[in-house]
Amino acid sequence: MFSFFSPSNIFVYLNKIIEFLNSIIFIVLVVALTFALVFSPPDYVQGDAVRIMYVHVPSAWISLAIFSIMTFSYIINYIFRIKNLLIINYSIAPLGLLFTALAIITGSVWGKPTWGTWWAWDARLTSMIFLMFFYIALILSLKYLNDERIKLKATTALSIIGFINVPIIRYSVDYLNTLHQPTSLKITGSSTIHTSFLLPLFLMLLVFLIYSALIFLMKYKTEIIKMKRKRLKNYD
């Protein structure tokens, strides 16, 4: 069963999935942007600045999700030695960095009209900066460490240490002193966000997820080809 999920077997289906995602992303993007920029009402306190939420929040969610997936993959790989997980991590790490940077930049732009400042060294913002540093350290380790054993140990350690930061980011707005508003959307318990904001938010999240899947699959495909090229050189 595990052989079915080997990179070679998955590779055959990648083109079809990429083509399908490419064909739907533009339509979903147009619908999501229409809701986010036209149909969504202004907030009674923040006015139209609330629309920044539609790019800021999905970016932040995806950046945290990617780091969590990477840590989980590294732990599983450390125990079971599944090389495919390393290729997956190599493929999603830059995407995580992109969304972390976007969450920080759009958050800063949102901060100016709502808090009156572009930046404050409070708990949420500082912990997001730390997340970005962990992503950068992981990507640099993956790229520049040549010894495979050292690379695996270093990246596993970095992801586990960095993962400690994830719950800090999540709960910093509830328990620490911060300018950032408390959690509005809760999985358990009632959310304080109105449904008229939820629909555009989830549509934008869908766009970001399709985009992430597209980038991930193209990067994953590139990594498999790199691996095959190495084998081809040994074949000579």
Partner: protein, 77 residues
Amino acid sequence: MIKDILTMNGYGLYVWLSFAVTFFSCIFYYVKTYKELKKYEKEFAKELMELSAIDRQEYLENSKVANQIFLSKSKTI
């Protein structure tokens, strides 16, 4: 209505700046990733072409990945 969408009641600069930064960063990274993939596909197909016919045949029979890339790229090389 268009003026309202553009100005966003005074928040236009912040809203459009956020969307523009996100949109252009994503487009830039998409193009970069796509180009990188195509470059590696092309180079790999070229390396396969450089093998002798017998070696290439044997290699393609044993590698689904190589087979697929070679089929898609051999026409353009």
